[in-house]
């Protein structure tokens, strides 16, 4: 059984003449330890799909099972706990808390509740080491380089040992070399820690580093299971 399984997910915004169908019956599955890249032009629905998988949006119809539970039926509190405990986000601009150090950014997720803080401290040190951030651990996030920030964001996403990592344009603000390093670091963590990962990207070169590439266009998945590049 796949770790993440989406069936006939649709998402409609607005009503009447303003009605927009962002997703039109998307079905897909992601296994644990698998990194899936989601590509497509702007407005194709890939970010909407990522937001639905991350419970930032609720689908208009369809089911989304993660670990056998249908996230689409969760109430607001359950969605918050789902994002906290089962999902790790890496955003386009890293979105770290600027006045906290790299290490504090990792430990911050422990403040949201439901975690053993001692274990989180050990995990933070372990992740900082794995991602080559030990020396940057005490630096404020707004003083880190773009690449370092994205690696801290990856570490933060892994802090609570989530089932699923969701990545939104992780290399958009990086040059090609640094972008490749970040995606490679992410890939290693996904495989090493046996997480499922969905990465939205415009960058086909970065997408090619994923295990599978899916293309979404006009709210429909066009290519499934085979790279499109």
């Amino acid at each position: 059984m796949a770790l993440l399984e989406l069936t006939d997910i649709t998402k409609t915004f607005g009503a009447g003449d303003q009605r927009v169908e962002a997703l039109r019956g998307v079905s897909m599955a992601v296994e644990a330890g698998e990194m899936v890249a989601l590509v497509g032009p702007s407005g194709s629905g890939k970010s909407t799909l990522l937001a639905i998988i991350g419970a930032l949006l609720t689908p208009t119809a369809g089911s989304m099972l993660i670990g056998g539970r249908d996230v689409a039926t969760f109430d607001a509190g359950a969605r918050t706990r789902y994002r906290r405990d089962q999902v790790g986000f890496v955003f386009q601009a890293s979105n770290l808390v600027p006045f906290l150090t790299a290490r504090e950014n990792l430990l911050l997720v422990g403040e949201f509740g439901g975690a053993d803080k001692g274990a989180l401290r050990r995990r933070a040190d372990e992740l900082l080491k794995e991602l080559g951030l030990t020396e940057a651990a005490g630096q404020a996030a707004n003083r880190l380089s773009g690449g370092q920030r994205q690696r801290v964001a990856i570490a933060r996403a892994l802090m609570r040992d989530p089932l699923l990592i969701l990545v939104d344009e992780p290399t958009a603000s990086l040059d090609t070399t640094r972008g490749a390093q970040v995606v490679e670091a992410l890939r290693e963590e996904i495989h090493g820690r046996h997480k499922a990962c969905v990465m939205v990207t415009h960058d086909l070169e970065m997408a090619a580093r994923a295990d599978r590439v899916l293309e979404i266009r006009d709210g429909l998945l066009r290519a499934h299971g085979a790279p499109v590049v």
């Binding site: 955003f91 808390v97 600027p98 006045f99 403040e111």
Partner: protein
């Protein structure tokens, strides 16, 4: 804690907010102190009287100035059911010349020796039957005017000024915003009415000790509590109303300023708060952090203001010329009011925080 770390790392921003809260809290505390000082000036001597009730003539509208009681009425009051002890008191305001050409207004209070209205002497001696031209004068006034035991004050008796000697100093404060000066009640009658006979009022009011006397009435007199008597001193209620209005306006302005500051700070952090929600922070966690910041800023600002107010009183306003006073209770209650006003003012920001949609984490660029 995220809230405390943010305050520690953004010291300038939060320092400025704290500075503004300090100024507002200082204003509120000073107004409170002024109100308290004015209240003390209005009637500490009345509140200090060793009794629980005061009897007035029933047509005086509870005014000590207008109240006039006859000897028969005073006797009637003293023997009313529930009265344990009584003391007739006369009151008149008079211009007191304490040095040639230097005049102040004093509250002359006529008392009977050995009665419950006789004040405790803190310096000098008590009045005796022979002190028909003797005075017990309030300590603050003695200090302000540089007078002392044995000094002579010129007090108007009829059309002439007569010398009165300060025989003792008391710590009774003021009466009707004037320094309290105690004299024998017979002397008070002479000063107030010149010719003393059966028709001359015996006292202005009667101080009473006893139980359940409030509301008791008799032939031309009525009894109220000392507290009621205080709030019926001419000008006290209006003055307190003005001071309260100033305090409430200060608190309102404080709430608005703190509210606006934190609303702006919240608006600046909308995207960051959205990200935190996206990665699992609950609305409760974030509003708690926000409220903690408001609470700490308000508390720090108020504590600084309290220190500043006490320092001001001890230095710039150390003389008793400006009636400003602080008590621990007044400082604490005003401080709590400022902190509460700050938290209430920031509720709009908390609503803003709880309404932030985490989807904005995916919609913004850095």
């Amino acid at each position: 804690m995220l809230a405390i770390r943010e305050m520690a790392r953004r010291r300038l921003q939060f320092g400025l907010v704290t500075g503004v809260v300090t100024l507002i809290a200082y204003l509120v505390l000073m107004v409170t102190g002024l109100g308290l000082g004015l209240n003390q000036a209005a009637g500490t001597a009345l509140l200090a009287l060793d009794g629980d009730y005061l009897a007035y003539s029933d047509r005086s509208n509870l005014s000590v100035i207008r109240s006039q009681l006859s000897e028969a009425q005073a006797t009637d009051i003293a023997t009313a059911p529930g009265v344990a002890a009584s003391a007739p008191i006369g009151y008149v305001a008079a211009a007191i010349e304490f040095r040639p050409g230097e005049v102040d207004t004093g509250a002359l209070l006529g008392i009977d020796l050995g009665a419950i209205a006789e004040p405790a002497v803190v310096e000098g001696r008590a009045l005796t039957e022979t002190d028909t031209r003797g005075l017990l004068v309030d300590r603050t006034w003695v200090s302000l005017t540089g007078t002392g035991i044995g000094d002579t004050l010129q007090v108007p008796v009829g059309l002439a000024f007569e010398p009165f000697e300060i025989v003792g100093v008391v710590d009774e404060g003021s009466f009707f915003f004037q320094p309290a000066m105690f004299m024998l009640r017979d002397t008070w009658r002479q000063i107030s009415y010149r010719a003393v006979d059966q028709a001359t009022p015996f006292a202005s009011v009667v101080l009473l000790q006893g139980e359940s006397l409030e509301g008791a009435t008799g032939a031309g007199w009525e009894i109220v509590t000392k507290d009621t008597a205080f709030w019926n001193i001419e000008g006290v209620s209006a003055q307190q109303g003005t001071v309260d209005a100033l305090r409430y306006m200060g608190l309102l302005i404080g709430a608005m300023v703190i509210g606006v500051f934190f609303y702006v700070i919240t608006l600046q952090k909308v995207s960051l708060l959205g990200v935190l929600k996206a990665i699992g922070a609950s609305g409760t966690y974030l509003t708690t952090q926000g409220l903690l910041q408001v609470f700490l800023v308000s508390l720090t600002g108020t504590a600084l203001a309290a220190g500043l107010a006490v320092l001001t009183k001890a230095t710039v306003l150390s003389s008793d010329a400006i009636p400003i006073a602080f008590t621990t209770g007044a400082i604490l209650s005003s401080s709590v009011a400022v902190v509460v006003a700050g938290v209430v003012g920031a509720l709009l920001s908390m609503r803003q925080i709880s309404s932030i949609d985490p989807i904005i984490a995916m919609q913004q660029q850095q």
